[in-house]
């Protein structure tokens, strides 16, 4: 019953919102309907659970409005309508997501609201996932709802804003009990089913192609394992195949975008049985494409590393020289390329610099180990 409710709640919310109910009022009504369902359904689940929820939630909206003394006779007539048929589900996912990902919200607020209203996670679960107290997360979500309640919504919003939020959720990964990567994949699948946008498919493919490598990303001791060192037997070949299939269908639409390009690069990595068989030439080509679609300096940095694999470390370092050295992981990339070019002393120095700049302990420890590895084998540094 819990799974059923969790799947239905966002759909019920979408119906109310599409009918014109204020977002915050709709969310409150849906929560009240949920409480009633949990009280009444264990005795007998209704024949049409979704219709039941919509009717009950609709009544809650009216009750709330009467309690406020508001004059909403037109909305009362709207909520007296019979429950919707299956065809009403088509646009709702994008409508709901684009409200939760409205540009007026900060990324943190959009993420929290999306996971709550569309993902159906409880406030406590989201709080745990982000390691904040439940009361803090509850406030964050409340404020987000208030922010968008004032906004005008005449049509489904910008898909790009939604994709950015879903991408951020995916990047959070697995924190304790809640697998945010899987949540992101689930929501993106929903969105892909509801839209005909190759960039949505591109993002879904990108997520699957990255998620497929998850088991190989950490050693048994919990250390970070970079792509080049991963045990590819641990990659999920089924998920890779699905990601490739979705990507190919997206590319066939001939409307290239940044998520499709990123997915293509991920697919090329996933396609190589060993790291030495990686098709770096094609990867560089896709980075060139990506850089026509976005001026992301991270893409330029990753391209420089790929150029290093393709044309040799000197070429890679030249490309890296055109990227802002203040970027996270710039020094790690420089260290890697210097090691490839044979300058072990400089590589060790740069790994140590990179370790000091790392923003996560896992990366810091990994980079420190690389510096130590080179230092233990390298010639002694010149006298100071």
């Amino acid at each position: 019953m819990d799974d059923l409710l969790r799947a239905l709640m966002p759909q019920v919310l979408a119906v109310l919102v599409r009918r014109g109910t204020d977002f915050a009022a709709a969310e409150d009504a849906v929560q009240d309907a949920l409480i009633e369902a949990m009280r009444r359904w264990p005795e007998q689940i209704p024949d049409d659970p979704k219709a039941w929820l919509i009717t009950v939630a609709g009544r809650k909206v009216i009750d709330a409005q009467r309690a406020e003394g508001a004059r909403r006779r037109r909305e009362q007539r709207m909520h007296g309508e019979p429950p919707p048929g299956p065809t009403e589900q088509q646009d709702d996912t994008l409508l709901l997501l684009s409200r939760c990902c409205h540009p007026a919200l900060t990324p943190a607020s959009a993420i929290a609201l999306t996971l709550r209203a569309v993902g159906g996670l409880t406030t406590a679960q989201i709080a745990t996932a982000f390691l904040v107290p439940e009361a803090t997360m509850a406030q964050r979500i409340s404020r987000a709802k208030r922010t968008i309640s004032g906004e005008q919504f005449n049509r489904p919003g910008d898909v790009r804003a939604v994709l950015r939020v879903l991408y951020l959720i995916f990047n959070e990964g697995f924190t304790g009990e809640i697998d945010l990567a899987m949540e992101a994949i689930r929501l993106t699948r929903q969105l892909a089913a509801a839209t005909r946008d190759p960039e949505v498919d591109g993002l879904l493919a990108l997520m699957l192609l990255h998620h497929a490598r998850r088991a190989a990303r950490r050693s048994a001791a919990g250390e970070l394992v970079p792509l080049a060192a991963q045990d590819r037997a641990l990659w999920d070949t089924g998920m890779i195949a699905e990601g490739v299939r979705i990507l190919q269908a997206a590319l066939a639409a001939d409307r290239i975008g940044e998520y499709q390009a990123q997915a293509a690069i991920a697919a090329l990595h996933d396609d190589a049985p060993t790291v030495d068989e990686t098709d770096w030439v094609q990867i560089v080509s896709w980075y060139d494409t990506l850089l026509t679609l976005t001026d992301s300096p991270v893409a330029a940095l990753n391209r420089a590393v790929a150029v290093g694999e393709c044309d040799g470390p000197v070429a890679g370092l030249a490309a890296l020289g055109r990227v802002d050295s203040a970027l996270p992981r710039w020094h790690a990339a420089a260290a890697y390329l210097h090691e490839r070019s044979g300058d072990l002393h400089e590589a060790a120095r740069l790994y140590a610099v990179a370790a000091a700049k790392a923003s996560s302990e896992l990366e810091r420890d990994h980079l420190t180990r690389q510096a130590a590895r080179l230092n233990s084998g390298a010639a002694a540094p010149p006298a100071q």
């Binding site: 107290p133 991408y167 990047n171 959070e172 990964g173 896992l362 810091r364």
Partner: protein
């Protein structure tokens, strides 16, 4: 969505506030009450904004401890030397940007002292190390 540690110091290697600060035991009880109330109010502000994670005060007494070898008891070195930096307490906030973390620290720094004037004490701001993001390549 990054966590920052905001640290208050009882004393430190540098000036602890913009102007010389009299120790709290020389304030009036009302001034002390106002100072403490301010800290509670700021925590509530951050709670309402969805940014508060935790806050703790630390006793001004304590020691340094180290391992002394197999089977030997730990060695303690204390109480804290008069010249050493001493942390008074902290607040942890979860905010969208470093700028916002600095604003939060400045808010704490405005706590009232003698005469009700803002102390303008130096608050140390330290960013938490986060989990690495999934997509890096």
């Amino acid at each position: 969505m990054t966590k920052y540690l905001l640290l208050k110091h009882y004393r430190g290697d540098h000036d602890i506030a913009a102007e010389p600060l009299t120790p709290m035991d020389q304030w009036t009880p009302e001034e002390i009450g106002a100072h403490i109330q301010f800290m509670h109010d700021v925590a509530d502000e951050f709670r309402a904004l969805g940014e508060f994670v935790s806050a703790e005060g630390l006793s001004p007494e304590g020691t340094f401890v180290r391992y002394d070898g197999d089977g030997r008891p730990p060695v303690t070195d204390g109480p804290f030397a008069e010249t050493k930096d001493l942390i008074a307490g902290w607040m942890i906030v979860d905010v969208d940007s470093e700028e916002r973390a600095h604003e939060a620290a400045a808010r704490l720094s405005a706590a009232p002292g003698p005469g009700g004037r803002p102390i303008k004490e130096w608050i140390e701001v330290r960013q938490f190390m986060a989990a690495p993001s999934t997509i890096t390549d």
